[in-house]
């Protein structure tokens, strides 16, 4: 059972209180976009074997979506932060860099 803290209500929620929302920091691509961009937005996933930025909703809880940086092999949760941002907080990025020197960055 993975345990992930909700940055909104502070609860150390276990997975059954959460809903997984897949890759984070996707920017919606609208009607006049290029076919490749739209395909990328819809389907082409980062799916790294390593640090992953992803969305979670505290669905059996405060109901808020938040973002998390989690390692897909060790399952370490580096940190969580509110969904209302287009990029991860700088200190989180620094923390991950320090822990995973081989990490190529979140972009």
């Amino acid at each position: 059972m993975q345990i992930i803290p909700c940055p909104y209500c502070g609860v150390e929620a276990e997975e059954t209180e959460l809903t997984y929302g897949h890759e984070a920091h996707l920017k919606r691509v609208g009607p006049d976009s290029d076919a490749a961009d739209f395909e990328a937005y819809m389907f082409t996933r980062k799916n790294p074997k390593g640090v992953h930025f992803e969305r979670w909703r505290h669905s059996n809880g405060c109901g808020k979506w938040f973002l998390a940086a989690r390692h897909t092999v060790t399952l370490e949760v580096f940190g969580t932060y509110p969904a209302q941002t287009t990029e991860p907080p700088a200190e989180l990025v620094e923390k991950i860099k320090a822990k995973c020197p081989e990490w190529k960055g979140w972009k």
């Binding site: 909104y8 209500c9 405060c62």
Partner: protein
């Protein structure tokens, strides 16, 4: 409104703890900027203030609970809920908010007795030993969403959706059966 009946009409069971549906209860959802002065001003006359993170405050038989960073739940008398909702809506005026009487969509349960915690330990992934008084914990009981708080010594109040009240009572009854004491 004599024709209103709660989902379980006050059903209760006593095992090693007592579990009861509390009957009709007024509930009003408030979605707004919780730092709003208007909100604070509107709550003031009821003796209530905006609770802090996960907090529950109470006054005059009403309680106000923090549900999320932009949502509160006011518990009051069933009959007074429509008016409270209307008054709060009016108080907000044009300020962006949503206040709605939701008294009919949830059921309220009371778990009481010295071993009440053990009932919820069987159902919710919550550290009951460290849950303080008057803290709202939204979580899951077995397979349904709930929220509960310690409302007094040996008393826990719990809400879930009305349609699953029967399921919830089933869970509480089974979990509080004598012989099932954990400690």
């Amino acid at each position: 409104m004599s024709e209103a009946v709660s989902a379980l009409k006050g059903e209760s069971h006593t095992g090693f703890a007592t579990v009861a549906e509390a009957g009709l209860t007024g509930m009003v959802t408030i979605r707004a900027d919780l730092g709003s002065k208007t909100l604070a001003d509107a709550l003031g006359p009821m003796g209530l203030s905006v609770p802090g993170l996960r907090g529950v405050v109470a006054a005059d038989g009403r309680s106000l609970a923090w549900m999320s960073p932009d949502e509160l739940m006011l518990f009051c008398g069933y009959d007074e809920a429509p008016k409270i909702a209307a008054d709060l809506t009016a108080a907000f005026g044009g300020e962006h908010s949503l206040v709605v009487n939701v008294s009919d969509m949830r059921s309220l349960f009371v778990v009481s007795g010295a071993k009440g915690d053990e009932v919820l330990m069987k159902l919710c992934p919550v550290d009951m030993a460290t849950l303080p008084q008057m803290e709202m914990r939204r979580t899951r009981a077995a397979q349904t969403g709930v929220a509960f708080w310690r409302s007094g010594p040996g008393e826990i109040r719990l809400i879930c959706f009305r349609s699953v009240a029967g399921y919830m009572m089933g869970l509480l009854e089974v979990s509080s059966r004598r012989g099932g004491e954990i400690f």
